[in-house]
Symmetry: C2
Subunit: 108 residues, 2 copies
DNA sequence: TGCCATTTGGTCTAATTTTGTCCAAAAGTA
DNA sequence: TACTTTTGGACAAAATTAGACCAAATGGCA
């Protein structure tokens, strides 16, 4: 298993990918065809990337798409828990709900 | 610790509360001052209750508000994971992010 | 069976949220 | 200083969602 450094946010990770590739916002934005400012905002987590955009980013930087999508999702969940000041245990509850609903779905 | 039956959704729980109280959609909707149809949709998870509404519901049925809010949130998270067909492990990642961000926040 | 209460479900508008763009200001660098 | 890069505010456009209204369906029971 590869040792993968995890980032505290999708944006941070994206910025790291870009900087490691020695690229500027401009060059990347042009190549994935979005506004520089939008890309900058995504890196600062001020805008949320669309699924499609995450896919393009993954392709561009040659990283696993599914992993990026998951990272973005976990971001969203973490953010929601923080702003709602929710109990961290709701994640366990959510997990049970998912298992339950998956079983239920398969039973249909 | 009280034994609490958990429901697979917020709406299901709400419906149970109402039926246990022997009330109809009409009587509850009138008392919390929302449209009958809206309440019905919330029970069927076709509409999302606002925070404010969850508060009113908690007050009305005399249940713990925070618990209801948490139930709604865990619902949202479970739903998102299902529709995105995301790996269940993102919940663990999200948990780590929350811990990390909380620490970070406190350090500011 | 027919009546009335209750619940469902579709459609629509208004409100809210979010995105993406534009541009000027700030920051960094040589 | 001149140039590149990044930031951040403002705003219109797009997308999403809530809430209202009403008709149809369902259910109980006299």
């Amino acid at each position: 298993m590869a040792i993968v450094k995890k980032y505290s946010s999708f944006g941070e990770h994206l910025r790291k990918l870009r900087e490691d590739a020695g690229q500027t916002l401009k060059t990347v934005a042009e190549q994935i065809r979005i506004d520089i400012s939008l890309l900058a905002k995504i890196e600062r987590n001020e805008r949320q990337p669309t699924k499609q955009l995450i896919k393009q980013i993954a392709t561009f930087f040659q990283v696993d798409e599914k992993e990026l999508q998951n990272e973005f999702l976990s971001d969203q969940i973490a953010y929601k828990i923080l702003v709602e000041e929710a109990d961290i245990n709701i994640l366990k509850v959510a997990e049970k709900k998912v298992s339950y609903l998956k079983t239920k779905k398969n039973a249909d």
